[in-house]
Symmetry: C2
Subunit: 111 residues, 2 copies
DNA sequence: ATCTACATATAGACAGCCTACATGTAGACT
DNA sequence: AGTCTACATGTAGGCTGTCTATATGTAGAT
């Protein structure tokens, strides 16, 4: 998966994976792998900053927990985050529809 | 259409629009508008540099023409460009499939 | 004269994803 | 005791491609 292709869709992925339950960063990375059938290996250097950004703009909230001696920061969707996810989903549909319509255009000549 | 979303898909769009016939930059922008039903307004500052980049790496070739007193640089797909377009198309299918599978995952709780 | 459409081009800003690195705990295995 | 892997978070800096803004010029309509 070409990294550049993810540009602008990372938020949708993160919000989507947090929709059903709160998760910490490491678990989010695993969830993305699972849900994508192993195709998505998002590096920590992408996920952690993105989560912080999403929290900063109010789409996520977080709290620390210690489980088995390890510190976790668990993120959950805020109300704003749920609305944003809705928006991301419809933006995704529009995006694929628009790009798809260009890519699938018949290669038949003019006239 | 969020500009960031285009990242990494611009090449596919440009190659695709040049598949059926050679076009110059301005006409490419119009063709993208038409094919997308008006949804794609790609600025000249994006298209012209991108076309040059694609020519530099061998996917396009170009030649100057003068039509109605105006200078045009007409681009056409090279053989390499056609192969690249094939690759872009299958990458697009994979991309939409992977992201889609994450976004569409059921929001039902675990167990 | 002025305006719009046609037509190309570059400089610099911006943003976000990536690589690489740093830090630390827990448990298994030798 | 030492090593290795999995778990877990985080930052600095690089890269690159898209965008905004600007520049230049022709043709035709008003």
């Amino acid at each position: 998966m070409n990294p550049d292709a993810l540009r602008g869709h990372m938020d949708a992925l993160l919000l989507s994976v947090l929709e059903r339950e709160p998760l910490h960063g490491y678990a989010i990375i695993e969830a993305l792998q699972e849900r994508s059938g192993g195709a998505l290996s998002v590096p920590t250097g992408t996920v952690y900053p993105a989560l912080r950004r999403l929290e900063r703009i109010g789409h996520l909230s977080s709290e620390w927990a210690t489980v088995g001696g390890r510190r976790r920061r668990t993120y959950r969707l805020t109300e704003s985050g749920r609305k944003q996810l809705e928006g991301e989903r419809s933006a995704w549909r529009e995006f694929t529809s628009v790009i798809g319509s260009v890519l699938r255009a018949e290669a038949s000549g003019p006239a």
